[in-house]
Each structure stands twice: as C-alpha cells, then as structure tokens.
C-alpha cells in the first residue's frame, strides 16, 4: 500500500506536450481514475509513474521516496495493459508467475500465490491453457491476475476494459471494484470512458490537454463542474450548451435566448448571479433535467418551455428527443411514452436548480 505524490510533472514527445504541469496526491488505498479524451496525457502519466517514460520535469514520489531515477523493476508497481500483454508462448500459469520469477520467489511460494490469485479471479481451470485459447474476458482476468499475484504497493491500470464488449465490460468493472475493496491497495486507473470513471473511482481526475481540469469525488464533479469542459465531458448523453444572455427584470433574473424564450433563474441563485445581468452566458443543462411538464408539479425552480420535437429516439425505459432552442439542437431525456412522433409540440419543464451558467470568455462555471 502506498501513497502516490506527483509534483510539477511535465512530459513532451518531440513537439507534442503530453503532460504540462500536473500535481497530484493520491492517499493510501484510494482508487483514483485518470480520465479524459484521447491525447489528454493520462496514459503518459501512468507510464511515467511505472517508469516506462522519463519525465522532463517534476517528481514522482511513492511512499515519500522519489522514484524518478529508478528503473521500472525497482519501483514495485504492477500494471495491467490495455491489450493485456500476455505472452502468447507461455501458459496461463507461467504468465501469472512471470513477475514472481523475476523477483526470485521460491517455486513453492510461486505455485501457492498463482493458485490463490487464480482462485480469486475464477480462472483456476485455465492455468494450463495458452492465451490464444482464452476468450477476451478470460485474458483480461489473467492480466489482472498477473498484477495482483505480486502484491505490489501500487496498481496501475491502462484502459484495461476497452477491448471488451459492453456486457463483459460491466461485469469486469464490478469485479475490479470488488478487488479494490478486498485488497485495499492504491490503484491508479486510466480510461477514456467517463462512465467507468464515475462508477469505479473514489477520486476522479479529469485531464485535458495535459492538465488537470478538476479532481474530486465522482458525484462532486458531476454535480459541481468547475468549467465547461468538465460539465460537457461527464454525463451521457452530454450536457446541452446553448448561448444565452442573463437579463434582470424587477427583482428576478432570467436566462433569455435570441429567439426571445426566457427561463427564470431560481431565487436561490439570485445573489450569486446578479452582478452578471446584461452579460452573455452559455446555458448548460443535462438531458435528464428537462422533463415533460405535468400538472400539479410545483417544485421550486422549474421553468416552462414549449418545443417542437424534431427527432425521437426511444431506448425502452427512456426516450430521447431532440428539439431546437433558439436554433441550437437540444436533447432531453423523457419518459418512455411522453412523446409519440416527431413534429409534436409539447410543454417541457427545465430544472433550473441543476442547470449551470458558463462565462463564454473564460469557460468557467458561474
């Protein structure tokens, strides 16, 4: 178990700045997920922690020891790779035992540990097979087995589930989370999949362009994004952004759009936003916070909106609809039978408590 601390990390390849100035402190036993779009520097960070890349600047500390100058083998970390990195010419047993052999464990203990790891991952029956005789999910388990068998102080996962199909991915996600709860090890997990990040992490670290945009508990990031990037990246389907203007009228504020539509800002936010009145803003709202208006729904902060539906996408339990608000396509997540067909005109409620306003110049959430 170990605490990981990264300070002032920079790394570039040729002319591409992969990581530019990252500070990160992961306490012992935490499950941290580095997430971001491709090219955001998350994999580079992981590889720098493993010692597979040398940073241009900055330090990496594991348990208070600066490991910058240590080759990977001396860092005592375990890593699971995206393509599993199983040795095709070795049986599953030897694949799992490979790291133990490098560290010169006695044969008896190797066997004991491999069997235990295999039992944990339900692959005891596969130990005599070659990797090519395994399914994708089984290979994934072997790769994880190879990491846990060594009992390293730090576990690194580099997009381990991205080669699996959707159903298997969900299964393995659950198992990895269970594994973390059982082992209690510090784990750093890289993914581009924001759902994986939200479901697995104690702490989500959202990266973009080699910098940390925001870090914190998953729900924190989801509910209180600090900027437009974070708001747009988390959530599926992603948040709607519509250019608007904040207008003061009497003792209240409203978000008004170019076509004249206005949505009232709830009283609770009045204080915070009053200074902004008269300025351009970007109005952000998640699909699930737009619902069909229902009689008798008198919750605070619901703003009415009428819309003509352009596209209807039923998924079964929910139905996604698209309409235009002031020329911008907006998606909303309604109940299954709220809308019958495209072209229908319906009344909607926008939950203004959950909506955000963004400064178009700084992209920061107001």
């Amino acid at each position: 178990m170990a605490r990981l601390r990264i300070t002032g990390l920079y790394k570039s390849y040729d002319s591409v700045q992969a990581v530019r100035g990252v500070d990160l402190d992961i306490p012992e036993g935490e499950f941290a997920v580095l997430v971001g779009p491709s090219g955001c520097g998350k994999s580079t960070m992981l590889r720098t922690i493993a010692g597979l890349e040398e940073p241009d600047a900055g330090t990496i500390e594991i348990d208070g020891e600066i490991v910058n100058d240590l080759p990977p083998r001396s860092r005592d970390v375990a890593m699971v790779f995206q393509n599993y990195a199983l040795y095709p010419y070795m049986k599953v047993f030897d694949n799992i035992a490979f790291g133990l052999r490098a560290r010169k464990f006695p044969a008896g203990e190797i066997k004991e540990r491999v069997l235990a790891a295999a039992a944990t991952l339900n692959i005891s029956g596969l130990l005599d097979r070659l990797p090519r005789q395994l399914s994708g999910g089984e290979r994934q388990r072997v790769a994880i087995g190879r990491a846990i068998v060594r009992d390293a102080r730090l576990f690194l996962f580099d997009e381990p589930l991205s080669n699996l199909d959707a159903q298997l991915r969900e299964e393995m996600r659950l198992e990895i989370k269970e594994l973390h709860q059982r082992l209690g090890k510090t784990m750093i997990y890289v993914t581009h999949d924001q759902i994986e990040a939200r479901t697995l992490a104690d702490r989500v670290v959202l990266l973009n362009n080699g910098r940390i945009e925001q870090e914190g508990a998953p729900l924190d990031l989801f509910e209180r994004p600090v900027n437009r990037f974070v708001a747009g990246f988390l959530g599926s389907p992603s948040m709607n952004f519509i250019p608007a203007r904040l207008v003061a009228a009497d003792e209240s504020l409203a978000v008004t759009f170019e076509d004249g539509t206005a949505l009232a800002v709830p009283a609770a936010a009045y204080e915070r936003l009053a200074g902004r009145s008269g300025h351009d803003v970007i109005f952000g709202v998640r699909t699930e916070h737009i619902s069909r208006a229902r009689d008798g729904d008198t919750r605070e902060g619901l703003a009415p909106l009428s819309a003509t539906i352009d596209v209807v996408q039923p998924t079964g339990s929910r139905t996604y609809v698209t309409f235009r608000l002031s020329g911008t396509p907006v998606m909303a997540e309604l109940r299954a039978h709220d809308v019958e067909h495209p072209g229908q005109r319906i009344e909607l409620d926008v939950d203004m408590n959950r909506a955000i306003l963004i400064d178009p110049e700084t992209d920061l959430v107001l």
Partner: protein
C-alpha cells in the same frame, strides 16, 4: 404473382465443360505447367549429370536421362575429399550466421525500440549492403594480406558477418517492431532487467522472424562466390569455389559439378521450403510483410 414471371426467366447453367471459366482455367493450368517445367529443366539437367556414366555425360547429342542411376561420382567426391568443402561452407556460413544474427538482432532492438541514431543510422546500416561486393573485397583483401588472414576461417567468417549484419539488422528491426511493446513493458514492470526482457520476451516473440532471417543470412553466405574466391586458397575452400575448380582447361567434370550442386543445393531447398511463408518478406528486405 411474381412467381410466374420468375419461372420464365430461370437461368439454366451450361454444362461445366461448356463454360468459359472452365477453359480459362485449363489454359492457365497448362501455361503454369509449361512454365514450371521450363524453369526446372536446367536444374534437372545439372543434377542428372551426377548419376550418369562418363560416356553418358559426354554423349553428343546429349542423353536426357541415364540408362541406370549410379552413384560413382559421389563416391569419388568423398574419396578425393571434395566433400570437405561442404564442411568448410557449413563452418563459415554457420558461424557467421550465428554472429550476424546475434549482433544484428540486438542492434535492431536498439533501433526499433529506442530509435537510436534516428532514421539516419538505420539507413546508413542498410546502405552498407548496397555496396558491390567487389568493392568491399578488394580493400579487405589488402588488409587481410597484411594481417595474414587470407585463407583462414576467422577472416572469411568476419567478412560474412559484417556483410550480413546490415541485412539482419534491417529485417529484425521490422520483426521487432511487429511485437506489441506492452509485452516488454509489462516484463520491465514485473521486475525483469533489460537483458532478461530481450532473452525472455523479445527473442521468443521474434522466434519465427529470427529463424527466417537466419535462413536467408545463411544462404547468402553459403551461396557467396566472390568473397570466397578471393579469400580462400587451400585450407578453407568453400563449396561454390570448389564447383568452379571442376572447370578444366581440357575438359569440364560435369558429373562432379552435378554431384556437388546436389550436395550444396538440396539443404537450401529444404530450408527455404520450411520457411516459404517468410520468403517474400526476406527477399524484399521487409518491404512486403506477406
């Protein structure tokens, strides 16, 4: 209701022997057989010499096949020690292949995984192979005379090693680049040293490429004539040089040439047949991965 119209338009296939496809196929097949026979005939002709009696060898007009297969020529080659040149070829080609494979492969690893010296170094190395052998052998000969290395195994082996190094480096660089780098990284994280990773991951992963490249490297050295012509006298005469020794002023010993060709060529046929899958990649300097 569309059933009726469809029934009217039912397509009745012709009998197979009336189809154009059949005749194209037969034509292609005949052409392939003729061409293959044309290309194989000279090989047959030189090989069959080994089994003819002297009268049959020197019959004019020539006889196309011996009345009776006989092995006397081979016996003569063994008796006179000519077969020893095959042994010399085995030693020089074998040892130089092992050396070139080892040094070339580790150099290739450096080029493939660390981009040592950039693309320029890799191109410089392969360009060494483009120099005509006669231009290499002349200055090397002068140096070897100075060191007394002419007609020695070490001299010829060193030259073959150096001559084949660029090829091995170039080919193995391609094969190593085909290995997913994560396998090596995983081993490094697991606790293996750089050398151990080479030994336990890279070499086994590149196994097929290693064998294929070794086969071609061996053939280059085995088939070489010009280096051996200059650098061998008596002690280490290799088999191609020995073949030319049967060209006499008065007469040429075709039976012996045939027998030596069989001894020197058959092993190569087997090696190539075994690695036919890698042949195209091997002879195209990796341009086609096949």
């Amino acid at each position: 209701m569309t059933g009726e119209t469809r029934a009217d338009a039912v397509y009745v296939p012709k009998d197979w022997w009336l189809r154009r496809r059949t005749w194209t196929y037969v034509g292609r097949y005949a052409a392939a057989i003729v061409i293959t026979l044309l290309f194989l005939f000279p090989v047959y002709w030189i090989f069959i010499m080994a089994f003819k009696t002297p009268e049959e060898v020197f019959a004019s007009p020539p006889i196309w096949y011996p009345a009776q297969i006989q092995f006397k020529t081979f016996a003569v080659l063994f008796r006179d020690g000519d077969v020893g040149t095959i042994g010399n070829s085995l030693i020089t080609a074998g040892v130089s292949t092992v050396l070139a494979m080892f040094f070339g492969t580790i150099a290739a690893y450096s080029l493939a995984r660390f981009r040592t010296g950039g693309e320029n170094l890799a191109i410089w190395i392969i360009s060494q192979r483009m120099i005509p052998p006669i231009v290499i052998i002349f200055p090397v000969f002068l140096v070897y005379v100075f060191f007394g290395w002419v007609d020695t195994f070490q001299g010829l082996i060193l030259l073959y090693t150096a001559f084949n190094l660029p090829y091995v480096t170039w080919m193995m660089r391609g094969y190593i680049e085909d290995i997913p780098i994560e396998l090596e990284q995983s081993a490094l994280v697991d606790g293996w040293s750089r050398w151990q990773v080479l030994l336990r991951v890279v070499f086994p992963m590149a196994r097929a490429g290693l064998f294929a490249t070794a086969v071609f490297t061996f053939i280059f050295a085995w088939n070489d004539f010009i280096f051996a012509l200059v650098l061998t006298r008596v002690e280490i005469t290799t088999y191609p040089v020995q073949v030319t020794s049967f060209f006499g002023q008065q007469q040429t010993f075709w039976a012996k040439i045939g027998a030596m060709s069989i001894l020197g060529t058959l092993p190569i046929f087997f090696a190539v047949a075994l690695f036919q899958r890698y042949l195209v990649r091997g002879i195209s300097l990796g341009a086609i991965k096949g």
